[in-house]
Structures are given as structure tokens and as C-alpha cells.
């Protein structure tokens, strides 16, 4: 033991110092849980089952939660600077098997509120409310049991997410972690009749489970080493290690402690869809679009970011954790962007862009820019939700059509303007167009890559990725929303007539094969199908989209509030356990790896990019890269003459200059379109061998293990069978055996007595 004494707990002013929170803070998670139960009850009552009641219950409860969160913010914002507030609902796990430290496991249903949780909870509940409102219209065709199921799971998700974010210990975080996984499973598999949806749900859950195992082991190791899993006790115990890091004594930090973040990180990779566990997220687009927007874009997938930010002190003291996070993040960002460029399903493109952006956030964390990562999470939540909801609106209106080659000029159709504008706003944000929110948050991360020693290469990779992002984002926009008006309805066109029919799988994306074929589909003039008319979104969807578009632009404002503390987000993050590494701390950020790096390379010059301060120059670099990306997209996909741009050339829905260029690139686009065959790779390298192993085990079990048992049963049976012949039923034989036996026995007696 290294003399870790509880004295540290007493150190006031540390971000880990806690004070009692208001009781109603516990309502923030439990209102959604109540809503979940109520939705379940509604499903049981036949007369009200097929109304929109579940949606309203959910919207109201989430709204109240959001209001409570705002109230909490207002009440406690000042307090967070001196420490988190904790509200304990009840004791959950409290097991004591000795009196020494480390022999009591306490994990309460306690809620921990500091800047980081506050930030997350604000957008979780806020976006949750908006998206629930959106979904109330979006899912209206499925009123009945499915509707109840959807909103029950939706509410349960918010509850789980709240537990994840607000939990005051790692085990409650784990509860939320798995809980959001469950809800994700249930909602991806919402259209349970579609085999692809069921498979995607399963894949998501299992992939997440792999990560969860890492997280669980990390939690156990934390408890094993520190004897507690409660943040309030844990982080003070980490402090000595950070101190020894600052003092340059890296070797004083035990290996065991360094292993904790490595395990936690696996969990984060799973939940946030990073390499190598990212493959579930694109498939998760099988779920209804609001789900994709809330869970698979805005909130759940950022849980990994939250985890790392929350346990940043642990990550700091590890030599390997943050570098791995950095590389994984950057490579994921690049890989996902390349795949996104080659997809045709707009929702999938958005999914890959999510993976890519998450990569940015991870890289940001690894560059010790928790603020940057958190800010990107914050802005990303808004603009990605906007993007997804726009895609959803398109899908809703065009009967499930998502193929960008079959849609064109949607923005100029009647009633679609709001959708188009919102989409444009989202795309600009995603591309990092100057002065949008995405622009500022992305820059923060990119600049930090050049500030932190040893990460320049990653910085360039991320800049390249930013360009690619701009390209594929606007590829969607140019193909689908502008240009000549044209559409083909999706495969749900006939189901349009019978709303509410259970078989009606609304969100199906383009039929399998279409998404993968390099050949553009044969355009079919829409008037060939007289029965179909796209129906523009209703008030709920429009309101939500408009609101979100505004919010996603307004999010940039957060950058300018409290500029001295790196914006509003920065100030929030600063008042949390992630604070140690917020930039501009005076004491400059260090972590073990960087420290090593410094030791080996004696020169500790201030980092520069192109000879200037990275933070300043990055505005220009990234703006230029983004704009170039947009221009390329416009040139390759943009319609002729749109918005005064002279470079566009597309006159038909499905034909663009890009299609002519594609063959020249050889097989690479095809490979990218097939997601670099990663799924197949996993299939052949992991799933298939595992399945074969299962079959072999099954055989072994039946033949060898059970065979041995049967052999043990067979032997006496065999012996009995052979001995059975002695029992012939013939009296003489028995008598002969008796007489012979008598002779033998007497003979033996004689021998013994002689």
C-alpha cells in the first residue's frame, strides 16, 4: 500500500469535494422512468392505447426533467466551482465484509452533478424533449402497441442516460451504460419484423457488450486498487499519482493504476463506436430516425467521451491510455469519413459522419482538450440531431426513400423549405463552415493537436478528415436538396395507405443491394407512379427542425460567453473532474505519455503550426479546408447554376460529374462503398470462427463429454449384458453354478485353513 490516506478527502476547493444536492435533482432521471412505466401502463389499457398519449407523457416528463435541469443549473452553477453536488436517492449496493478500507463496496443510486454532468444533462434532456416531440408525429403511423413501446423505450433511454451521466459512482454509470445499450437494442430492433433490424440490434448490443466487459473490468480494477468506485472518494485518491506525475516521478505510478484507463477506454470505444468496435453504429440506422438522432448521434454515442472526460484523472496517469485514444480517434475519423464518401444511403452517410466526429472528440480528449471534446459533443449534438431529423423528414415524406441517387431538389418542393434550410444549417456546421458552431468546436480540437507534443501527424490527419467531411456532407446536400426536382418513392409506398398496420416497416432504407451497387439506378420518372405523393412534414417536425437549426447555430454562441474560461462549455468542464486538463490552466497540461515524450526529447519548445500559434492559425486552415471540401462537392455533385455557383454541373437527379470520375479511381470507391470490408473481415475472423468453435464444442459436448459419461454408463451395462447370459432361466444351470461355486468356496476355505 502506498499510504493513501483519506486525508485527501478533506482538501477543500478540489473539484472532487462534494456537497449535498437538492432532493429534486433525483427527479431528473426518475421522471423519464415514470414516463416509461406510464407508457407501459397505457399499453395495457385498450381504449387509450391507440392515442398519442404515450408521446405526450414522454414529452411532458422529459420537458419537466429539462426544466428541472435548468433549475439545477441556475441554482448550483456557482457551487460547481467548489465541488459537485450529490443527491442520494437510496442505497443500491452496500456490502461490507471487513473494516479495512477497500472492504466495503458502496454504490448508491446517488446523483452527482457538476459542470460536466450538467452540460451533458442539459442537452440530453433538452434534445430528448425536442426529439420526443418530433417523434410524436414521426411515429404517428404506428399508433398502438408499437407507439407505446417506442416511447417507453425512449423514456427508459433518457433515464439510463441520466444514470450514466449523473451517477455518482462507476457502477451506476455502468448501469446507465448498459441501460442505454438495452434501449438502443430495443429501438434499433423497433421494426422487429425486418431481419436486418433485428440483426442490427443484436450486433449493436453484442458489440457494446464487448466494450462493456472492458468497462466492467476497469471498474473492478478501480475498486481493487482504490477500494472505492464513488467519484467523491476516488478522485482524491488519484491525486497523489497526478502529483507524482507532475513531480516527474512517472515510475511511482503503479502499473495497475495505469491499466485502469486502458480497460475503461475499451468500454468507451464500444459505446462511442470507435475502432475497432464501430461497425454497429451504421447498422443501427435500422431504427426509427428519431432514435438515430437522439441515441446514435446526439447522446448515447457521446457516453464514451463523457466517460473519458469524467475519469480524466485516471487517464492522465497512464502512459498508454491517452495516446491510444488519440490514434484510435484520429484513425476512426479518417476511416469513417472515407467510407461516408462512398455511401448512397443518406442516413448511413450521417452515421459514418457521426463515427467520424466521435473520432474527433476522442482525439480531442487525448490532446488534453476536454473542453474541445465537450464543446464538440455539445455542438455536434445539435447539428447532428438536425441532420438526422432532416433525413428522417425526407424518409417520412418519400416513403422510406433514402438513396441520394433517387432524390433531387427536395428543398424546392412544396412544404419542404424548412427541412431544406435546416439541412443546410446542419451541413454547414458539420463541414466546419466558418463561424458556425461546428467550426469553433472542431478548431479547438485541431489546434490542440498541434499544441500537444507528438501529435502533429494526427493533427494533419484530422485536417484532411475535415476536408473529406465537408465533401461528403455537401454531396448529400447538393444531390438531395437542390437541383432538378425528382423523386422516386421508397419501398413503403403501398403501405402508405394503411397506416398503423403492424407489418408496416416505415424506416427501411433502400433495399439491400441498391446501397451497394456502384451502378446508378435507372431513373424512373415519378409520374410513372401516380399513386404516390410525397407528404411534407407537419407542424411538429417543422417546429422541431426550425428550433434545432437555430439552436445549432446558436451553440456557437457558447464559445463567446465567458471567453476567458474558454467559453461556456469550457467553464462548465472546468468545474468538473475533467478540470485538471482544461487548457489555459496556467500549469500546462501534462500526461504520462507526454511526460515521457518530454523526457526523451529534451527540447520543450512551444508548439507551433506554420510558425504561428496553432489556435490562431487553425481558424484559417480549417476554414479553408472546409470550404475547399464544399467546393469540390459542389463541382462534382452540385446542380448547374445553383446559388450562383458556376461549378455545378448536375442536370439530372442521378447523374453527376462524380459518376464519371469514379471509374478512374479503380476499385477504391467500390472498396470504400463496401466499408473497406471490415464487416466481412470481422465475420470471417471472429464471428465465423466463434460459430465454428461453438459447433465444435457442441459436438464435443455431445460426443466426448457426454460420450465419456455414457461410456461410464455403458460399461456396467455391457458387463451386465454379458453376465445376463448366465441367467439363462434354466434350473440346472443355476444348480450347476451353485455346486461349482460351492466347490470353489470350499476349496478356498481348505487352502486357507491348511
Amino acid at each position: 500500500m502506498t499510504g493513501l490516506t483519506p486525508v485527501i478527502l478533506a482538501s477543500t476547493g478540489s473539484p472532487a469535494a462534494t456537497h449535498q444536492g437538492a432532493w429534486w435533482m433525483a427527479l431528473i432521471p426518475f421522471l423519464p422512468l415514470l414516463s416509461c412505466v406510464l407508457c407501459g401502463l397505457v399499453a395495457c389499457v385498450r381504449p387509450i392505447r391507440s392515442t398519442k398519449l404515450p408521446a405526450w407523457i414522454t414529452v411532458v416528463s422529459l420537458g419537466v426533467s429539462f426544466a428541472l435541469m435548468l433549475a439545477t443549473y441556475g441554482q448550483q452553477r456557482e457551487g460547481w466551482a467548489s465541488g459537485a453536488s450529490v443527491t442520494t436517492a437510496w442505497e443500491w449496493i452496500h456490502l461490507s465484509w471487513g473494516h479495512e478500507p477497500g472492504q466495503t463496496l458502496i454504490a448508491n443510486f446517488g446523483f452527482y452533478m457538476d459542470g460536466l454532468s450538467g452540460l451533458w444533462m442539459l442537452f440530453v434532456t433538452g434534445l430528448g424533449t425536442l426529439i420526443a416531440l418530433y417523434a410524436s408525429e414521426y411515429m404517428a403511423h404506428d399508433k398502438g402497441l408499437g407507439y407505446c413501446r417506442f416511447f417507453a423505450a425512449f423514456s427508459l433511454f433518457v433515464f439510463s442516460m441520466a444514470c450514466l451521466v449523473m451517477g455518482d459512482n462507476l457502477i451506476l454509470l455502468y448501469l446507465g451504460w448498459e441501460g442505454v445499450g438495452l434501449c438502443s437494442y430495443l429501438l434499433i430492433g423497433y421494426f422487429y419484423k425486418k431481419p436486418s433490424a433485428v440483426a442490427a440490434a443484436k450486433k449493436a448490443f453484442i458489440m457494446n457488450r464487448i466494450g462493456d466487459l472492458g468497462l466492467a473490468l476497469g471498474v473492478m480494477l478501480t475498486f481493487f486498487h482504490f477500494g472505492t468506485v464513488q467519484y467523491a472518494e476516488l478522485f482524491p485518491l488519484v491525486q497523489p499519482h497526478i502529483d507524482s506525475l507532475k513531480a516527474g516521478r512517472v515510475e511511482d505510478i503503479p502499473l495497475l493504476v495505469q491499466a485502469i484507463p486502458v480497460l475503461l477506454m475499451i468500454g468507451a470505444f464500444g459505446k462511442s463506436a470507435q475502432l475497432p468496435l464501430y461497425v454497429w453504429l451504421p447498422d443501427a440506422m435500422e431504427g426509427p430516425t428519431p432514435v438515430s438522432a437522439l441515441i446514435h448521434a446526439a447522446t448515447m454515442v457521446t457516453a464514451g467521451v463523457y466517460l473519458i472526460a469524467r475519469t480524466m484523472p485516471l487517464f492522465l496517469v497512464s502512459e498508454w491510455a491517452l495516446p491510444v485514444v488519440a490514434w484510435v480517434g484520429a484513425l476512426t475519423a479518417l476511416l469513417a469519413a472515407t467510407i461516408g464518401m462512398a455511401q448512397f444511403d443518406i442516413k448511413r452517410i450521417m452515421a459514418y459522419s457521426t463515427v467520424s466526429q466521435l473520432g474527433y472528440m476522442f482525439a480531442g480528449l487525448a490532446f488534453l482538450s476536454s473542453t474541445g471534446a465537450a464543446f464538440h459533443v455539445f455542438t455536434h449534438a445539435f447539428f447532428k440531431a438536425t441532420l438526422f431529423l432532416c433525413c428522417g423528414a425526407v424518409m417520412h415524406g418519400f416513403a422510406g426513400q433514402l438513396d441520394l441517387r433517387r432524390l433531387s431538389g427536395v428543398m424546392f418542393m412544396r412544404g419542404w423549405l424548412i427541412v431544406g434550410v435546416a439541412m443546410l444549417v446542419g451541413c454547414l456546421n458539420l463541414s466546419g463552415f466558418p463561424f458556425t458552431a461546428g467550426f469553433f468546436s472542431k478548431d479547438m480540437i485541431l489546434a490542440e493537436a498541434f499544441v500537444t507534443p507528438g501529435y502533429q501527424l494526427l493533427g494533419w490527419i484530422l485536417i484532411l478528415t475535415a476536408g473529406l467531411t465537408a465533401y461528403y456532407t455537401f454531396r448529400v446536400f447538393f444531390r438531395v436538396f437542390v437541383g432538378p426536382r425528382l423523386f422516386e418513392p421508397g419501398d413503403e409506398v403501398h403501405a402508405d395507405d394503411d397506416h398503423g398496420h403492424a407489418d408496416h416497416a416505415h424506416d427501411g432504407h433502400a433495399p439491400a443491394g441498391d446501397g451497394h451497387s456502384a451502378e446508378p439506378p435507372t431513373p424512373q420518372p415519378h409520374d410513372a407512379d401516380h399513386s404516390f405523393h410525397p407528404h411534407p412534414p407537419g407542424w411538429a417536425i417543422n417546429t422541431v427542425l426550425a428550433l434545432l437549426a437555430v439552436l445549432s447555430l446558436a451553440a456557437a454562441g457558447a464559445y463567446f460567453i465567458e471567453q476567458d474560461r474558454h467559453g461556456w462549455v469550457g467553464s462548465m468542464v472546468h468545474d468538473s473532474t475533467a478540470a485538471q486538463v482544461s487548457i489555459g490552466e496556467g500549469e500546462h497540461a501534462v500526461h504520462a505519455a507526454a511526460f515521457r515524450h518530454d523526457l526523451t526529447h529534451e527540447e520543450h519548445a512551444h508548439a507551433t503550426l506554420l510558425g504561428m500559434n496553432p489556435h490562431d492559425v487553425m481558424y484559417f486552415v480549417s476554414a479553408i479546408v472546409g470550404v475547399i471540401g464544399i467546393l469540390i462537392a459542389a463541382a462534382l455533385h452540385g446542380p448547374k447554376g445553383i446559388g450562383g455557383l458556376m461549378i455545378g454541373s448536375r442536370t439530372e437527379a442521378a447523374r453527376s460529374r462524380a459518376d464519371e470520375l469514379l471509374p478512374r479511381l479503380g476499385p477504391i470507391p467500390r472498396w470504400a462503398q463496401h466499408k473497406w470490408f471490415v464487416d466481412e473481415f470481422y465475420e470471417f475472423l471472429i464471428r465465423r470462427p466463434l460459430y465454428v468453435a461453438s459447433c465444435i464444442f457442441h459436438l464435443i459436448d455431445a460426443l466426448l463429454v457426454d460420450g465419456l459419461v455414457n461410456l461410464f454408463g455403458w460399461l456396467p451395462r455391457r458387463m451386465g449384458k454379458s453376465a445376463r447370459r448366465a441367467q439363462s432361466g434354466v434350473l440346472h444351470q443355476y444348480a450347476g453354478q451353485m455346486a461349482g461355486g460351492l466347490v470353489i468356496v470350499l476349496f478356498i476355505v481348505l487352502l486357507l485353513t491348511a
Binding site: I171, L186, K193, I206, R209, L217, F223, G227, D706
Partner: protein, 548 residues
């Protein structure tokens, strides 16, 4: 709480069994239901006297002379762990009776009578403080189960019943040999001055516990091997598990529920009650081996689940996988591990029992459990599907439901080890295993997700698929009120134990800590000073759970 109360918990079902046998067949199930409910009432009344402040003590202990010439006493007594398991047994009683209503239509009297006898025997196992009483009850569970399987099972029932009987019987005979060695050792090798009861021919479990701990390491190892073989078959541990899928597949629904719910726990309870305290040194010495078997079981059985076509067989194999965690926690011999295991016994009984009930309900409607013939039942049976997903999630170990707490604690217990990866931290709990064991066992969580979701994906979700030539029976498409009533209490308990396991953990903590302390105090070369370092001041002279 008096021993009379405990004995009456055995007596009530037994008397009801006689009543069922005597009454007309029409009344059989009503009498059985009343009997099991009455047993619960008796249990609750008796619980009023339970002293919650001393959960570790053997309460209600006492008994009657039985065959004094042979040293036999009808002595009973329970600590909180036995209390919990008896509670589980009592709870499953009426559930099984109600669940069998439509499934069993022939030879009704025999069925319910044996079901009740089974309950009496199971209660006896948990309540017994006398070795022979324990063993008689332990073995007596076989006969009713054998009859339930061989008379009311499906096609291959005779084979399954015989295999079940012979397999577990052989195992427990070997365990008995080990236990009798301890009896012999106590009577002949120990001086009467060693402790109260030493040097006499006694069958008192408490005395034998003391005697076992005084054996030499090699003796303990042999006794350990014998007992692990016996109890391991019952659990079932990896290489001796093959009777279980067969028995489960063939057994009637209620039989499966009891088999998974309680009978398997007899094995883990035996390990807890006998193996741990009687052979402490050998257990710590060989814990690795047992743990490796448990881990192989977890992964191996889990993967086998994946390729099953029969839903019931899948769940049966999942029991093998799940109980691997339980054994892992037991052999880790520390607070979290043991608490987790005890909790696991309860939780597995609830969630797997419920899964068997659900499968039985589908089987009653479709007369098949083949995943190739069934699918997408969510659209036809939404209530059933909701329950199914719920219990699958409980079984997967989703936090917030019951399975998680126990699974996590088992793994946490396995994680703790003084010989782990450098022990600089506060993790001062002794343990026999180490992080690697927890890591490998943890992959079982992934495997569990794989096979259970695979099953859910096929049976609950997907396109509706019904067996060809299916005719709707007398039962409605979705669950009836009776079936919902059967499942609901289990579901409620699952949520309660998942969100608020504290009451259970509280009562479990003390006996479990004493048990672990006992084991660590009886290591070769363990001194009170050593015991001090484990966090308990006084050297522990009382066997865990001794004294009223």
C-alpha cells in the same frame, strides 16, 4: 424462531402431498395450491421471530433425537443464506402449481403429490443441521424429480430421467463418502479436548465443520475432490454437466423451473455449506482448478447455447454457463464473491425459472420449442414477448435487473487476489483467484448476450413463423391472466432485487464475511495475527453460523 417452525415448513408440503394423494383428482391442484400457499404463510409467520440482527447465527436450531444409538438427530437450523434459499423454494411452490394447471391433465394426483414432496425435501436440505438429515433430503429430491421427468416429460423422458438420477446419484454418493470420512476422522482421530464434539461419533454439521478444518492438507484435498465431484454434478460444473440439458429438455415446465430454480442450488449450497468450511486449506490450494472449470463452463456452455435449436436446451445450457459465475464467486472465498454467489443462487432461480415458464407457455400453444419452427412471436403474443425480453435481459445481467448485482459481485470477488497484478492499492481483501480469472469469466457476459439475443432475435422478433399444421388449442393466443399472475411476482422481484438489493445484501454480508474469515483462519500457518490483517480483530473460533 423455533425448530418446530422449520420442521413444519417441511411438514406442510409433505402433509399436503398426502392430502393430494388421498383426495379426488379434481381437487388435487387446489389442495396443492393451498398447501404451498399455506407453507408460505407458515414461513412468513415464522419469519416474525427471526432475529435480523444476527443473520450469521444458526437460528431456530434444535431438534429431536432420532436414532440416538447411531448419533442421528433430527436437527435443523438456518442462517440467513438458508433462509433466503428456503424463501426461494417456498416462492416457487405455488408458481409451479399454478403454472402446471393446463400442462398437466393426466395423472394429476401423482404429479402434484410429488411436486409437494419435492418441496418438502428441498426445504429439508436447506434447513438440515444433521448430516444424515441433509443427505436424506438431498437424495430424496431425486425421486420426485425422477418421477416428474419420467412420467410427465417429453419424448425422450425415460432416458433423461434415468440419466439424471444415475448421474446425480453417483455424484452424491461420492460426496457422501467424503463427508463420512470427516465423520470418521472426527470420531477416531481427534482428541475430545480439541473442541466440543470432537472425538465422538457425531453427525452434527457444525462439529463436522470444525473437524474437517482440522484435517491435514492432503486429507482435505481428497475430501474436497469427493465433495466437489458430488456437488459439482449437481451444480453442474463443466465436465459433469451433460445430464442437465437433457433433463431440462425432457422435464415438464414446473420440473424445469424447480430444477433450475432450486435443485441446482443444492450443489452450490453444498459447496458453500460443506466444501468451504470443511476443507478450507485444500480449497484455497485448489481454487484455481475449480475456477478454471467454472470458467470453461461459462464460455463453453455459452457457446454451445449459440448453436442450439431447442429453446429450452439453450436455456438449460445457459444455466451451466450462469452457475459457472456462482461457483467462481464461491471459490474466490471473499466477501464480494460469496455474497455475489448467494445472490446469484436466488437470482438465477428467478430469471431462469421464469424463462422456463415462458418457454413452457409457448410449448403449450405450439407443441414445439424448435427455433426453426417458431419465430417472430412478438406480433402474435406481445405480452409474452415483453416478459420474454424482460427475463432475457435479467438473464443477460442487465444492470437494474437482478442478475447484474450478483454477477458483478462474483466477478469482483474473483478479481480480488493478493497474488494479482501487484497489490499496491487498497484492495485489501484476500481472495484465491485474480484479475485474469475475472477477465476470462467476464467474456461470459459477451457470450451470454450473443446466445440470448440470438434466441430472442429468432423467437421473439423477425417474421412470424409458426409450426406447420398448427391448430390453436384451448389456450388463447397470448398469455392468460393466470399466466401473467405466474410471471408477475417473479418480474417484480427481479426489478426489486435489481434496484434495491440492499436488504438481501445486508443479511448476507455477515455470515458470508464469517465464512470467508473461517476459511482464511484455517489455512496452514494462519495465525491470529494473520487473521488480524484480514480485518477482523478476534480470531474466529466458532464455525461460521454456529450458535443460537
Amino acid at each position: 424462531m423455533s425448530p418446530i417452525a422449520l420442521l413444519s415448513l417441511m411438514f406442510v408440503p409433505a402433509a399436503s402431498a398426502v392430502a393430494v394423494a388421498a383426495a379426488p383428482a379434481k381437487l388435487a391442484r387446489h389442495i396443492a395450491l393451498v398447501g404451498t400457499l399455506f407453507a408460505i404463510v407458515v414461513g412468513l409467520v415464522a419469519l416474525g421471530d427471526y432475529d435480523w440482527s444476527r443473520p450469521g447465527a444458526m437460528q431456530a436450531s434444535g431438534g429431536f433425537e432420532w436414532l440416538p444409538e447411531l448419533g442421528l438427530r433430527l436437527s435443523v437450523g438456518i442462517d440467513s443464506i438458508a433462509l433466503l434459499l428456503i424463501g426461494l423454494t417456498l416462492l416457487l411452490g405455488p408458481i409451479c402449481v399454478v403454472a402446471s394447471r393446463t400442462a398437466i391433465t393426466e395423472r394429476v394426483k401423482t404429479y402434484y403429490a410429488w411436486l409437494l414432496v419435492l418441496q418438502a425435501a428441498m426445504t429439508g436440505v436447506f434447513a438440515a443441521r444433521d448430516l444424515v438429515l441433509f443427505y436424506i433430503c438431498f437424495e430424496f429430491t431425486l425421486i420426485p424429480m425422477f418421477i416428474l421427468i419420467s412420467l410427465y416429460g417429453s419424448t425422450n423422458r425415460k432416458h433423461a430421467a434415468t440419466k439424471f438420477f444415475l448421474y446425480t446419484f453417483t455424484g452424491s454418493i461420492i460426496a457422501l463418502a467424503g463427508l463420512l470420512y470427516v465423520v470418521w476422522f472426527n470420531a477416531t482421530k481427534l482428541l475430545p479436548t480439541a473442541f466440543a464434539g470432537a472425538g465422538t461419533w457425531t453427525l452434527d454439521i457444525g462439529v463436522l465443520t470444525h473437524a474437517g478444518a482440522s484435517m491435514s492438507l492432503s486429507e482435505q484435498s481428497w475430501v474436497l475432490a469427493a465433495m466437489m465431484l458430488g456437488f459439482g454434478v449437481k451444480v453442474p460444473l463443466f465436465p459433469v454437466h451433460t445430464w442437465l440439458p437433457l433433463a431440462h429438455t425432457e422435464a415438464p415446465t414446473a420440473g424445469s423451473v424447480i430444477l433450475a430454480g432450486v435443485l441446482l442450488k443444492l450443489g452450490t449450497y453444498g459447496i458453500y455449506r460443506f466444501v468451504l468450511p470443511m476443507t478450507p486449506a485444500a480449497l484455497v490450494e485448489h481454487a484455481h482448478l475449480i475456477a478454471v472449470l467454472a470458467i470453461i463452463g461459462i464460455i463453453y456452455a455459452g457457446l454451445i447455447c449459440w448453436v442450439q435449436r431447442d429453446v429450452k436446451k439453450l436455456v438449460a445450457y445457459s444455466s451451466v454457463s450462469h452457475l459457472g459465475f456462482c461457483v467462481l464467486g464461491l471459490v474466490a472465498v471473499n466477501g464480494p464473491g460469496l455474497s455475489g454467489s448467494v445472490l446469484y443462487m436466488i437470482n438465477h432461480g428467478l430469471s431462469t425459472g421464469a424463462l422456463f415458464l415462458l418457454i413452457g407457455m409457448v410449448y403449450e400453444r405450439y407443441h414445439t420449442r424448435d427455433m426453426d419452427e417458431l419465430g417472430g412471436l412478438a406480433s402474435k403474443m406481445p405480452i409474452w414477448s415483453t416478459f420474454m425480453v424482460f427475463f432475457v435481459m435479467a438473464s443477460v445481467g442487465l444492470p437494474g435487473l437482478n442478475g447484474f448485482v450478483s454477477e458483478f459481485l462474483c466477478l469482483l470477488g474473483a478479481f480480488q487476489s493478493p497474488s494479482g497484478l501487484g497489490r499496491e492499492g487498497l484492495g485489501a481483501t484476500p481472495g484465491t483467484l485474480g484479475p485474469w480469472f475475472a477477465g476470462f469469466a467476464g467474456t461470459g457476459m459477451i457470450v451470454a448476450a450473443i446466445y440470448l439475443l440470438y434466441m430472442t432475435g429468432r423467437v421473439v422478433f423477425g417474421q412470424l413463423k409458426e409450426p406447420r399444421g398448427h391448430h390453436a388449442g384451448p389456450l388463447p393466443t397470448d398469455l392468460t391472466v393466470r399466466e401473467i399472475a405466474v410471471l408477475s411476482p417473479i418480474a417484480v422481484l427481479c426489478v426489486l432485487l435489481g434496484l434495491y438489493p440492499k436488504p438481501v445484501l445486508d443479511v448476507v454480508a455477515e455470515p458470508v464475511a464469517a465464512q470467508a474469515q473461517w476459511v482464511w483462519d484455517h489455512q496452514p500457518g494462519a495465525t491470529p495475527a494473520h487473521a488480524e490483517s484480514h480485518g477482523v480483530a478476534a480470531p474466529n473460533d466458532e464455525p461460521p453460523g454456529e450458535g443460537e
